[in-house]
């Protein structure tokens, strides 16, 4: 990680407080944080900001998290970016749908931060190892 500098994480969250708290906590852990408040912005930021990982809320105004995930994963320029889907629903069907839409991992809200960090690190490391192998 040190070799690449701090990783950039795109937080897609429509709720301002959640977005703010999560981004500040991630920033405190040394990540660069980009923000998106809806599905459209998530797709555009995903392309323009080229984040290393995306935390995607499912319930979003405009196009929802599933659709945004599908678009990002359908675009060759963004398909490689790991996406962790976050849902307040916590229904198994949500998890299945999220993963089916192309999400790489799934977690529930409220976020258990330590657990989320472990998932983020795991995905980033796998990116690094795949990058290194390339």
């Amino acid at each position: 990680m040190d070799a690449r500098g701090p990783a950039t994480i795109l937080v897609v969250e429509d709720n301002e407080a959640s977005r703010d708290a999560l981004s500040r906590r991630l920033a405190r852990r040394g990540y660069r944080v980009e923000l998106a408040v809806d599905g459209h912005e998530a797709v555009s930021k995903g392309r323009s900001a080229s984040p290393d990982l995306i935390l995607m809320d499912l319930g979003l105004p405009g196009i929802d998290g599933w659709e945004a995930t599908r678009q990002l994963k359908g675009d060759v320029s963004t398909a490689h970016i790991p996406i962790i889907v976050l849902s307040a629903h916590a229904m198994t069907s949500d998890r299945d749908m999220a993963l089916a839409a192309g999400g790489d991992d799934f977690d529930t809200k409220p976020v258990r931060f330590q657990q989320l960090l472990e998932k983020i690190e795991a995905l980033l490391n796998s990116q690094v190892s795949s990058f290194n192998s390339q």
């Binding site: 407080a17 959640s18 500040r24 405190r28 916590a90 229904m91």
Partner: protein, 666 residues
Amino acid sequence: MPQAVPTGSRATQLFEQYQSDLHQRTDRLFAGLLVFQWVAGILFALWISPLAWSGTASRTHVHVWAAIILGGIINLFPAALGILRPGRPSTRFTIGVAQMLAGALLIHLTGGRIETHFHVFGSLAFLAFYRDWRVLIPATVVVALDHMLRGLFWPQSVYGVFVASQWRWLEHAAWVFFEDVFLLMACVRGLAEMRQTAERTAALEQEVRTRQQAENDERALASLTSAVGLALTRGTELRTMLQQCTEALVKHLDSGLARIWTLNDAERMLELQASAGTHTQLDGPQAKVPIGVLSVGMIALERTPQLSPAEQIDPHLDDALWARREGMVAFAGYPLLVDSKLVGVMTIFSRREFSSSMQDTMAAVADGVAVGIERKRAEAELKRRAKDLEEAHEIQRTNAQQLSGLVDQLRVTQRHAEAATRAKSDFLASMSHELRTPLNAIILYSELLQEEAADHGQQGSITDLQKIQSAGKHLLELINDILDLSKIEAGKMSLSIETFDVRTMIDELLDTAAPLVQKNNNRLNVHCEDTLGTMDSDLTKTRQILLNLLSNAGKFTRDGAVTLDVRQGTMAGRPCVEFAVTDTGVGMTQAQTEKIFEPFTQADVTTTRKYGGTGLGLALVSRFCQLIGGSVTVQSAPGEGARFVVRLPLSGHESAADAGAPARVA
């Protein structure tokens, strides 16, 4: 029925009849004989001395004239009597005398020939035909007088000699008397025989009559029995049946009045139900007779048949002379008994005495009628009960309809309740989602602030922030549990079956569970069988179940021990894994253990405040166990800890599907 007086009078009647017949027959016999004697006398006279000579001049001999005229007088008058007035004593006495006179004339006409005296003996013998010895007396007297007078004054006329002993008549009379003695004996004997014949005939007649009577009686009684039997077996109502019986009694017994009363048990009263004969109306003074009153009432009271002369029975229908006027001679009354239970009384007045066979038959009729009455009553009772039953049935039908209506209503209510439950579950699911979003912020911020406070060394704030975080996490637990429960109740909880190693699952579980158990200074003991192997089940839910139980045990135990035992077992004949969580904590009462698996029912409401927790943990354990196809049981006593045993099938596919089904329907 041999009866002396009627037979005797009949014998006398017959005897007299025979005598009369004999007298008349004999009278007619003598009538013929007398005419013959007259003609014979004339012929004798003409043959022996037709002419009386006086030189050459001759004239008809006087004997001829005597034979014609005197013989005519002697013979023809009694002959006329015999024809015109036969049978009378005067006729035969006249004939007796005439026969002797004819004999005297014959003796005279034959010139006193001794042989003609035989006419006298023959005549006497003939007279004995009358079997009436009195006829012999005047005849004998006439013979004796004739011989005496003619013997004295005209011996030639009687003895054929000119001189004869003046006592010769005595000798003749003695011979006549000699014959009379035998004739008299014959008469007496003949009469006795005649009387015997009469008596025998009379007896024979009587016997024939008796037999005929008996036969008629038998026929009548047989007819009576069959008529009553028919009446009793017909499906008519009680009164008609009894009326037919009384009519049969009148018709076939030739009785004057037959009546049947039935007992009204409640009023101790006999009620006239049927009457045939001289009276057919059912109202009147004897329509209702209390038991013990009048002959009828006495028969009912004493329960014995009564046979007595009709006139000794109470004045009938206010008419003291009724029995005599109607010619009633005999009365018979029978109590109607069924198994010694009185059901009525039957009475019969008759113009004839009752023979023993009639009595037998009447008693049998009484028995039959009693049974008939009882049967009719039983039928009536049966009908009444059937009607009651029908009514009860009707009520039941109505009730059933109402019940069915209620059930329909209940179904509607249940549908509404189910819809409400689903709505509630949906509401809770969406509510929990809505709650999570702000809670997400709260928890993130409190953790963020703790980190920042730690950076700035603001120790006081950290404590407060930890409390906020703790409250937020508790709220999160609650929301998660509520969400799970509502998912189960809404049928939206699905299983994710996978194969996992039991021992590995336990080891991973203990990483999380050990701190929860040990926080109250408890010791955690774990015993796992070595041969557990793998199981096919929902790993997440199995873990959740055990975590909840261990956390629960740690929560309610202080400075004690919590033990987890894992072994193989069987459940309903199938292999299972048995997880037992035992603690040494506060324990529960029987009442508490019974409710412990219901949502929001911790042992009591203060428990939540004292021990924390959501009150949903054990409810979820129970629901999850059901979902996976397993079971959970609890054993506990206050102060003696608790032991929860969870059995989960080794292979959870089928049972999980079974257990899941109802949850989904609900």
